[in-house]
Structures are given as C-alpha cells and as structure tokens.
Symmetry: C2
Amino acid sequence: MSATTDRALSALDKNLDASLKRLFELVSISSISTDPAYAKDCRRAAEWLVKDLESIGFTASVRETKGHPMVVAHHPGPDERAPHVLFYGHYDVQPVDPLDLWENDPFKPAVREADGRRIITGRGSADDKGQLMTFVEACRAYKEVNGSLPCEITILFEGEEESGSPSLKPFLEANAGELKADFALVCDTGMWDVETPAICTGLRGLVGEEITVKAASRDLHSGLYGGAAANPIHILAKVLADMHDETGRVTIPGFYDGVDETPPDILKMWQGLSGRPESFLKDIGLSIPAGEKGRSVLELTWARPTAEVNGISGGYAGKGFKTVIAAEASAKVSFRLVHRQDPKKIREAFRAFVRERIPADCTVEFHEHGSSPAIQLSYDSPLLNTAKAALDEEWPKKAVMIAMGGSIPIVGDFQSFLGMESLLVGFGLPDDRVHSPNEKYELSSFHKGQRSWARILAALAEARAAGRLPG
Amino acid sequence: MSATTDRALSALDKNLDASLKRLFELVSISSISTDPAYAKDCRRAAEWLVKDLESIGFTASVRETKGHPMVVAHHPGPDERAPHVLFYGHYDVQPVDPLDLWENDPFKPAVREADGRRIITGRGSADDKGQLMTFVEACRAYKEVNGSLPCEITILFEGEEESGSPSLKPFLEANAGELKADFALVCDTGMWDVETPAICTGLRGLVGEEITVKAASRDLHSGLYGGAAANPIHILAKVLADMHDETGRVTIPGFYDGVDETPPDILKMWQGLSGRPESFLKDIGLSIPAGEKGRSVLELTWARPTAEVNGISGGYAGKGFKTVIAAEASAKVSFRLVHRQDPKKIREAFRAFVRERIPADCTVEFHEHGSSPAIQLSYDSPLLNTAKAALDEEWPKKAVMIAMGGSIPIVGDFQSFLGMESLLVGFGLPDDRVHSPNEKYELSSFHKGQRSWARILAALAEARAAGRLPG
C-alpha cells in the first residue's frame, strides 16, 4: 500500500466521529421523493450535499429537473493520466409509514448498540445516504492529507431513485458530455455478510404499475345492490390471483421472454455461499419459499423475475364495518425483471392481461410508475478485479460476486447512454431494513466502507499507471 | 276516513315546515356508530329524541347498553282495547367518507330542488332519521289535534344498526316485558317507486367478517425479498378470488344450505314490476348483472345470498410508489343471507375456507362484525292487509309486496325474542344513496310518509275495534 493511501486511511479512522456528525445532518433531512409534501426537503438535501462537496474542493451545483433536483460535482485528478470515475448515489429516501413501528424517530439518527453491534439508525442511514457518504468521506480524507484526489471524480446524486427515476434518462441525455467518465462507481448494494464484502454483477430491473378498476358510478349499499352490481374489489382480486399459477410461475403471456436459465456453475457458486440462504426467510418470520417451486431462495431473488402487489386499497378500510360496494379499487404492482426481459413489453403484456379480465361494463385505468431493464455485468474485468483486490485487503473475508434482487436503474442507463461499465460496491447488510421501519446501517459498514473507497480509488489510479486498467 | 284521522292529516300538512326543522336538528348530529370518535354524537342524538318524544307526551328515556344507548318511549292508548304497537327505527348513521364527493355538507341538511323533485339532503336524511321521524311526526299531529293516540305505542330507537347491532339482543332479552306489544312496526325499508308504496316481506340476513393475513414479521423490500417471501396481498387476493366460481356462485362449502328456490308465482310477480329492473343497473353506470348467472336483478338482490368484499387494504396505498412487500393485508367481507341460512355456520364455513388457503408459515386472524339471519314474512295477514289498505288510500298507486336486499336484524329478533309479527313499511327510494355520498330523502316521502303512519295507526285501531285484527 502506498503512503498516500495509508495516510488517508488513518485520517478516516481519526475523523469517524466528525463523519458521523455530517451523516446525521443529512439523514435528518426528510427527503422522501415519492410524496410531493416533502419536495422542499428533497431540495434541502441536495443543497446540503452541494455545500459539503464544495467544502472538499469539488465544483458542485444543484441541477434542476422536472422533479427533484440532481447534484453534480467535479474534482480534477492529480494529472491527465489518472482515471476518471463517475460516482453515483441517491439522496432521496423511502416513506416512513407505519411510523408507530419505529423504535426511534426516523429523522433523528443516532448510533446505538444492538446485539453487541453498533448501528446507525434512521431512514436513509443505509439506503442510500449512509452509502453515498462513505465515498464522500473517502474523498474528503484523501484530499485533506494528500492535497489531491487519486482520480478525476465526477459525482452524480439523484433525488428520485425511490420513485422510479423519471428525470434520470433526460438528464443523462442532456448532460452526456459532462457526465461521461471512464467508468461508473455505484454505491447502493450490499455485502454478503458483516465480514464479507461483495461486488454485484446482476441486478433485477423494475416495472412499476398502478391499476384502478372502476365499476359503479358511486359507492353502493351492499344490501340493495349486492349480488347484482359488479364489485371492483372482486374483479381486482381475480386479476391479481390470476397472475400466478399453482407452481408460483407468473401467468402473463410472454412474461418469461428473455429470461435465461442461470448457468449451473453460477448456481453452484451460490449454493456454496454459507449462512444466509438458511436464515434468509427465518429472519423475517417465514420458512417456505413463496415463489417458483424447485428454485433456491438466492436464485429466486437474484435471477428470477417476479410479479408482486405492493399495495391494494378499495372500499371501507377504517375502524368498524361498512356494508358498501366500492365504486373503485386500486393496486400497485411491480415486476422485477432479469436478463433480457423488455420493460415495455412486460408493461403492455400486463395491461392486456388485466383488460381481458375486466367486465364489459367496468373500466380499468393504468398509471405508470417507472421502469428499468435488468443488468448483467461481467464476472471478470480489469475494473472488477482491481476493486476486488482492494476490498480483499480491507475486510476480514474475501469479496464475493453476487447478484441483487433490487433495481438500480442508473446502471443500465450508464451503459446505454454513456457507454460506461459500472462497478457496484456497497456495504449494506440483509438486515438493514431498507424500505421498512427501523432502517439502520452498520457502523462498521460506514467506517470500513469509507476505507474501502479510499483503497479502491488509489488502486484504480495505480492500475492505470501500471497499464492494467484501460481508459 | 274518520274525522280524527282527517284532522291529523290536515295538521301534518300544516306542520310540514316545523317537522322539517326538527328533522334537520336530528340530521345535523353526526351519530356515526361504527367509528368510536363519534360516540358522543350518538348519545346526543339519543338525548335529542328523548326530549322530542317527551314534548309529545311520551314517557321517554336514554337506556344504557355496552355500546351506544337505546331510546325507549311509551304512550298509552285511548282505551284498553286499542292495539299496542312497538315502533322501531335507528338514529345512527353510516360514515360519510369520501367526504369530497358530497355536494353539500352531510351534517348540514337542507331541502333542495333536483330534477324537478324536492329532496332533503344529508347523511341519515333517509337511513333512518328521516324515516323514523315520519312516525314521530304522525304521532305528534294526531295527539295535537285529537288529544290522544289511536294505539298504545312503545318506541324503540337503536344506535348501532349500522354497526351490526351488538347490543340489541341482550337489550331485548333484558327488557322483553317492557317491549312486548301486539306487533311491531319497522320503518327502515323503501317504496317501489316515488308513487308506489311497498310492504317488505323478505329481508336478507348479514354476516360481517374481517380477515387479516399475516406473512413476514415486517414490511420487506420487494427487490431483496420478492419472489421468495410470501406476499399477504397475493394470499388474500387468492382467497377472495376463490370465493366465486365462473358462474358467480359462491364456492364456500355448505354456503347454499337452507337457500330455497323462489316460488315461480313470486318470480312472476317480480317480473311484472315495471321500471326498476331495467334502470336498476343503468342508474349506477352498469349494465351486466354481476352475480349468479341466469337470474334477474330482483331475484339476485331479494332472494339470493351473496359474498361481497366491502373493503381491502394492504401495503403502500399513498401517492407515488413504494416497492414493499407488506407484512399483512386485510379485507372486510360480508355475506347477505336468505331463507334458512345459518349465520353461525356461514361464518364457520368461511373461516375454514380461508384457513385452507393460508400457507403454513403465514397466519390469519378473524374479527367478527355482527350477524343476523334472513327474514321471510307472511304475504297475507290481518296486520299486512290493514296496512296495505291504508297505504292504498294515501298514495297514487297501490302498495306492492316486495323483498329487500339489506338486513334489518331487529325483525328476526322481534319474532324470536318477543313473539311479534313485524310490519315493514318505509318510504325510501332506490336512488336515496343510503351508505353513499349525497344521501337524500324525497320530501314527498317525508310528508306522505307521515300521513301514511297516521292512516295506518288509525286503521289498526279501527280494525281492532271491528274484530278484524287479533291482539
């Protein structure tokens, strides 16, 4: 390890408390992107990041979109030969309801002890504020002790990742020249376990869709009309129940077009990963894999597509009882895509599937909630191998290559709009409860995550200097 | 018609404005029984009724129950030979949500013009405050001009009819001696059309049930867990979709035990009723009967049982999108019963049906929301024939015998606890939007309803005096 890297790592150790204070400031901003009521908070988070990046020496600005703003920042490298990386993260967070299930205020972050481990609590502590700040802190420390950064760095922070990234593609297209780098670093994924870092090479895509079934022109008394008037909840329930067959397979025609069977050697590698498959369901109070029969939990969540209902509503759901037949009923449905599934075709196939099941005197309305194709990255590239070696140095166990069930739309866009390979390294853990009450981020993830980025940036610069990393 | 009746009818005509003012006072009290937040308003409505009945000369009181109070009032007859009637109504109303669909404040009643007809607007204007006040006003006018009432009258007003009447049976049992009369008059039903009064001889029963399916111990990220973790909305949708087969028949085993086929002559009589069957669905924006195939709309709503989902909720239903797999999902389900269907057996059969469809690692909880058996009254009795003749005199068209899709639990209880025959006469109309936004009551229903009760009370006394009405 070089002296410059060593100094940066020491500075990160020394500055941990100060870095936590900064993270707390960011987490305390309730930047919930999906709810328009929090638009101002989203902007505040963007402004906070600009100010913080400027304090490190970045040229940073809040950049307007039709939705929540982007943050773009630039810092030159030490010389023209240094690699140019684009780092991506998102400052927006998920809603916090049901609020009463939180043990601590989601927007008053703190470090707490839990089962002998130290954790950072709060909405966004992991997804993605804690993660993106690991990179920012690595830059800060490196710059502080060495006066420069090892690479030329462009930063892009998005504010709509949790609501389908509607502004992302237009922004990339409009700013392609400014954002193009040698490759992209994305910090929004997880580790295998608390000691084992991971590089993610597969990501499921996403299609979000909201459907509203409308029947009678008004809510009806179920006594007067029950048995003769169409009930939109029944129609919706039938549609949703029809989406899966007895084997857990999705029944929408053409749904599996472009889905590959996972190669046997990859399945074998996943079978060799110890610990999580057994506890994966147990940790959440379940025991029976619910999806396609005959496939492992890792395969189901990493390499198979899904159709999931994320929300449903209709009729009277308050206290007590109301004998009403609702005028309409709604569901939010998302599809996780793998391999070459086409988001547009999936959405169209779903809509046709639904329309076929709507009685002639009823109607259905569709509302689109974003989409992204799945990503399959290389298992073996100079970028990946360089980063893997740097992670191997930092953590107790060697880095593993994994896939991920969630979507990170940006990765496909980086490939298609900017022609860049992405490296997906993140320090989340399976029990971080992202998108749920009591989200947390491991303190060790935050600290060793910072150290990992310092090592990776230095290693990329060294690899470039040694001719091992093409530009 | 006797001079006493004539005087009462004239007084009702003269007092219409004053009677409207009183009704408005009662409708303006938001006595929503199903929501505990309105408990005080329910009590206020009961107290208002006691005061009003006392002003007529009734001995009236608010009577405590475990839930909302009852109102009981007594007024002696003119002599010992006069018939003794028990009049029943309910002062509680349905919730008003969605409030934004109301054209006028639901608790600020008014008389308005609509399509050339004069209507009274407000929650409870029809169901059941407007209806019960037709009887109270008839008593007031008769007493005012004649100094006495034609019958001995006991009044029972309930405050939990819209929430399953949990206190009713215990109250009837505990007060059977006080409440027993020769027969019961119930004003909670409708007319055939605006010119044609109706006597209801069949009422569907009701079983209300809430189910909550629980899967994972917390809400999950659909990317991390989707495809492997059980989704309670899927399980619930499957259960609800399974409840009906392709022909619209309910599939719960034993559900049709005790259901009779309607006699051909009755079906023929219903086929002869003009006007409503054609417009029944059209009025609510529909055109295709949704229930069991091959049966008329009248048969479906009057003489066939149903299983209807009245409300469903689970996951994220707010604005935007949240890629969550919910920990639980709930539905409120009601069953309309006919003939000899046993509410207890229906509830048990439904629960077994649901439990069979819950995966072994998930759970389901049931919450009971009241029940009542169906009622089938005689098509031909001295009570019914006396009332029918009185209605024939008041209205432009002759009274018809109909059935009703809704439940009025009290009727069965009057039969089983007090051994009383009930007469079901009401002045609601199919377009009154009871249980929906913009509930209204026809001004002609309110006025001629008052006159109808004055005629019926007088006719019952005359029939008793002439030996045509046994006690």
